[in-house]
């Protein structure tokens, strides 16, 4: 095996690992964004709010979080499937 092929082999393993860990961070990030939205916009779904004042201040900038939250609620029927997919479990 030439040196280049050897380096290439490890590079591809590394990039695979890198992509997979980035996806896990991305999932974790979405989850945190979702929780952030649930905590701050709780009044919309019947969860007591930290303070209405906070929501009134940040609501104009919450489009991403609200999008994640509504998307997550739509996907709630297959939470286990999603987790299994994240860890490559068939």
């Amino acid at each position: 095996m030439s040196k280049n092929r050897f380096v290439g082999f490890f590079k591809s393993i590394f990039s695979g690992l890198e992509e997979s860990s980035t996806s896990i961070i991305e999932k974790d990030l979405q989850e945190t964004e979702n929780i952030f939205a649930i905590i701050t916009t709780g009044a919309f779904i019947g969860i007591p709010l930290p303070s209405t004042g906070i929501l009134l201040r940040i609501l104009p900038y919450m489009q991403r979080e609200i999008f994640v939250m509504t998307k997550r609620s739509k996907e709630m029927d297959d939470v286990f499937g999603e987790i299994a997919g994240m860890f490559d479990i068939d």
Binding site: T52, I54, P60
Partner: protein
Amino acid sequence: MKIRFVLGKGGVGKTTVSAAIGVGIAESGKSVFLSSLDPAHNLGDALSVKLSNKATTVNQRLKAVEINTESIIKEYLSEMSQKLKTTYRYLYTMNLDKYFDILKHSPGIEEYAILESIQKTIHTEMADILIFDTPPTGITQKVLALPKLTLIWVERLIKMRKGILSKRQMIKNVRGEYSAVVGDELVELPTEEEKDDIMIELKKYGKELHEIDEILSSQDTTIYIVTLPEELSLFETERILTFMNEFKIHVGGIFLNKVLRIENPPREIAGKIKEQEYVISEMAKRFSGIKITEIPLLESSPRGTKALYKLYKEYIEEGL
């Protein structure tokens, strides 16, 4: 600038005392701004002047306003609705009106509006003394506690937001940029605190809350409690004092209103007089470090600046 809050149960005479303090101090040469935060306004009735949501000049040194919390909430939500239409460009299909209907009736919104109007008055009115005639105790306590309690949440949310931004930054480090889907579009999202609007707003709100909390617990802010010589009022006053102590808000004194001094009281009110004497002696014992000023039950309710000034001179001035 000095700030005075007049606090007490409903119907104890907060408005009359606030108005008398305002009229009296204005007469002494200082400029006074009198603001009624009680949704059941009658500050205008006490002053015999028609008041509204906008400051009205009562005399050379006295201005007064009756704050309409409902219209503040409406105004605030309509401003925000406009803001949302421009910022939510990716989610314009969302039924935002539905959310606004919920927000209008959201718990805590009234207290938020009252606190906002207190802040606004402090920042805009240039009077020597600001006097707030407050809503009944329960709501006022919530309003006064709001900055400290909200600050705890703001600090936690800032911490959480930092976590979100740092994860975004990690992804950006690997991929060169951080974009995510919002609505139907792929959008580049902020990864730094200085560029994230939510973080900017949370920090700004936190700073404002710190400021108002410092103002509330400063020596220039004083609470006056108005109460009645009745047992229930005694318990309530005790609870107010515990609360103020907990939140480090300075109490300037207690006005014991509608005290009826009568020799040989008729049988029908003898029990009431006995209760009154008990409450007066208990108050002196329990609240020994606080000035208690008696205001007698007057023949008629003082209305208009002249009658209020007389009340101030005869009974209230010594209690300040």
